[in-house]
């Protein structure tokens, strides 16, 4: 088969497809597109409901708004210090995610690439964090933060978020083991320190996984209202999610406000997703190993 001829049947990965293979792909694709209608349906109703007035909403959950009203957005954004809450949320999420990803990637690399005593213990030890729900450890955590003078301070919760390395550490570990060691060896022969090797060579070629885990971690932290509610009591350190939880927590009372609140929290996440997803797609194809 000549390259020219196959062009029509070539997917992005460059392999050639038979007609039946193509058909199967189309079928899968159509099934998933239909499946995605559920999500579209849910989000479309959320957005539409957020634009309805309360009376309109209750008699009409699903239809188009009778008249578009932004009053619920005004209620959610207007009350109090939206900008400060937003800033707090951004600081928490950015610092928490960056710290957590770097720390867990380092720890995972240490476990995956070195031989030392207590290695398997450490692997298990780092997994404990996933095994108990946050409600279990919140009370001792409250006391620990209090004793460190970090209660009601952003730094305190940032440290807690950074320490939540369990999941990403586990994912990174197995992943680092699939990377050929040849690359690092050559760099090391050039006299680079292990840390330099890690930051200069390993991190760049693991971009897809790093970004995926960063995204998942960031979403968790951004959407979290429980820890800020317990550990950040003071108004100065209230987060956006906690501030609008006031509406979501009384959903039946403030339905359209809740819907607006959901849309408001979704927007930054979707923006980040688009920023990240191109990185994920690039992935290794243009990365270091190939060159």
């Amino acid at each position: 088969m000549s390259k020219n001829k196959s062009a029509d049947f070539t997917t992005g990965n460059g392999e050639v497809l038979s007609t039946s293979g193509k058909l199967i792909r189309w079928i899968c694709s159509i099934v998933l597109i239909i499946y995605s209608f559920i999500t579209i349906f849910v989000l479309a109703i959320t957005v539409m409901d957020s634009l309805k007035t309360q009376t309109d909403l209750v008699t009409n959950f699903v239809g188009l708004p009778k008249a578009v009203s932004f009053s619920s957005y005004a209620a959610v954004l207007g009350g109090g210090e939206f900008l400060r809450y937003f800033k707090n949320s951004v600081i928490l999420t950015v610092c928490g995610t960056a710290g957590c990803i770097i720390l867990s990637a380092m720890a995972a690399y240490g476990i995956a690439r070195y031989k030392f005593k207590g290695k398997s213990f450490l692997t298990g030890y780092f997994m404990i964090g996933m095994m108990v729900p946050v409600q279990v450890s919140i009370l001792p955590l409250f006391i620990i933060l209090r004793n460190l003078g970090l209660l009601n301070k952003l730094l305190g919760l940032i440290l807690v978020y950074i320490s939540g390395i369990s999941m990403s550490c586990l994912i990174f570990q197995k992943f680092f083991r699939t990377i050929p060691t040849a690359l690092e060896e050559s760099a090391r022969l050039d006299g680079c320190h292990d840390l330099t090797v890690f930051f200069k060579i390993i991190l760049p070629i693991t971009k897809p996984v790093i970004f995926t885990m960063a995204l998942i971690t960031a979403i968790g932290e951004w959407n979290d209202f429980y820890m800020p509610m317990v550990l950040l009591g003071n108004k100065n350190v209230t987060t956006l999610t906690l501030a609008i939880y006031r509406y979501i927590g009384q959903f039946t009372r403030y339905m359209s406000e809740s819907m607006a609140a959901v849309v408001i929290t979704l927007i930054p996440i979707i923006a980040i997703y688009f920023a990240f997803s191109s990185q994920i797609v690039e992935g290794l194809t243009g990365g270091a190993v190939k060159g």
């Binding site: 209750v58 009370l139 006391i143 009591g233 003071n234 108004k235 959903f251 039946t252 009372r253």
Partner: protein
């Protein structure tokens, strides 16, 4: 007219809130600093804001901050905070209705407010929530947290249904509505929602029994309670709560079915009135109490508890000043009216028509809650837990009414 009345109430409240008799209160300008209050539910936030604003008119130098810790582990968090020395200056508990405030009191975490706060405005029955042994440990709110039957007025009118005046009429009404192809009552399939329906049904079924709960001359598993529960189970089977009511997963779904006009009635806590009105401002609805066979009515419920003062508060003067303010008629009026609650005091007028309607539907009689008896007179302390775990099993058919009541009886004095 209304404004005049409110002004009058406010002025008289201001006069009343001045220190009287044996209560020693510091002059307002001497009190300053910051106090922190913990509440357990966002629905109180607006009332709390109003309360603080009114307090600050009297005590401008005190800065009041509140935190709402709205989660199921409120009490555990509160205990942890108090034990670690970073507790709030004032905090909400359910008073003597649950074991939490007594626990805190026995660990000397609550300040005894006797002689520090002027309780003259609070009724004796409300004070029961605050008294443990010889001390008073919280300031109750004079709201009446009762259960009621909300009904869709427009739907009743269209179909020519009328508010029942006897228990028998009520039962017949349910059948009529069901025959018309409409679900008579919106009810969620969880133990608390079902309880808030069971208690008023019990009160209508046997007022004598319900009156006897006050001093526990009526046993929790009494014959009348068994019969009333059986009646409710029969109604569930007849589809009066909807053909598939086991699928109504929570109180929110229960309210929505009523506000969207899918059901004719909704038996629930009176505090849900505010949510119903918020949810569908256009809904034309009213409330009645389930009548007894001879036509008398009564309301099941109690006052609500308010704030306690942390014994370790670093700003005790301001904390006491706030507690004292809460006990005043002014504060009580703000609280009852801003919540749209049913008033528990003749001197406070409810702010909404529906609250007045609920209040009037009881013709002045109040009964103690059946569930409250479970927590107060359980020899093992477990009756309430058993009730919570097994109540719905009666409706699912895994337990008979008698088996369930015998289980309860085993945990009672």
């Amino acid at each position: 007219m209304k404004r005049k009345l409110i002004t009058m109430i406010l002025t008289s409240a201001l006069v009343l809130s001045l220190p009287i008799g044996g209560t020693v209160t510091l002059a307002a300008e001497d009190v300053s600093g910051t106090i922190v209050i913990w509440e357990h539910d966002y629905s109180f936030e607006d009332s709390l804001t109003e309360l603080v604003a009114a307090f600050n008119e009297e005590y401008p130098d005190v800065s009041v901050e509140y935190e709402i810790k709205a989660d199921g582990d409120y009490y555990s968090l509160l205990q942890t905070a108090i034990q670690s020395g970073s507790g709030p200056d004032l905090f909400w508990t359910n008073g003597t209705a649950t074991t939490n405030m007594p626990d805190l009191v026995s660990n000397s975490a609550c300040e005894d407010l006797t002689d520090k706060v002027d309780f003259s405005f609070i009724s004796d029955s409300a004070m029961d929530l605050a008294k443990i042994d010889d001390g008073i440990y919280s300031v109750p709110w004079m709201t009446l947290d009762t259960r009621t039957v909300f009904y869709n007025k427009d739907m009743f009118e269209e179909n020519g249904w009328t508010v029942p005046t006897t228990f028998d009429e009520f039962e017949k009404l349910l059948a009529t509505i069901k025959e018309a192809g409409i679900t008579p009552i919106s009810l969620a399939h969880d133990s608390w929602s079902a309880l808030f329906a069971f208690e008023p049904i019990l009160a209508g079924y046997s007022p004598e029994y319900s009156a006897g709960l006050q001093d526990y001359t009526s046993k929790a598993d009494g014959q009348e309670a068994r019969e009333a529960l059986q009646k409710m189970v029969d109604w569930a089977e007849a589809g009066y709560f909807g053909d598939n009511w086991t699928g109504v997963i929570d109180n929110q779904a229960q309210i929505l079915a009523f506000t969207t006009g899918s059901t004719a009635m909704n038996i629930a806590g009176s505090w849900d009135a505010a949510t119903i009105s918020f949810n569908n401002p256009g809904l034309n609805y009213g409330a009645f109490a389930i009548p007894s066979e001879d036509g008398t009515t009564g309301l099941v419920g109690t006052a609500a508890n308010g704030f306690s003062v942390n014994a370790a508060s670093e700003n005790m003067d301001a904390a006491i000043a706030f507690a004292n303010f809460c006990a005043s008629k002014e504060a009580q009026t703000i609280w009852v009216q801003s919540l749209g609650a049913v008033s528990g005091s003749e001197e406070i007028e409810a702010s909404t028509d529906i609250a007045k309607e609920i209040s009037e539907s009881g013709s002045g009689t109040t009964y103690r809650s059946w569930q409250n008896v479970l927590s107060s007179y359980s020899s093992t302390g477990q009756a309430s837990t058993v009730w919570d775990a097994d109540f719905m099993k009666v409706f699912d058919g895994t337990l008979t009414v008698d088996e369930f009541m015998d289980e309860i009886a085993a945990e009672m004095e």
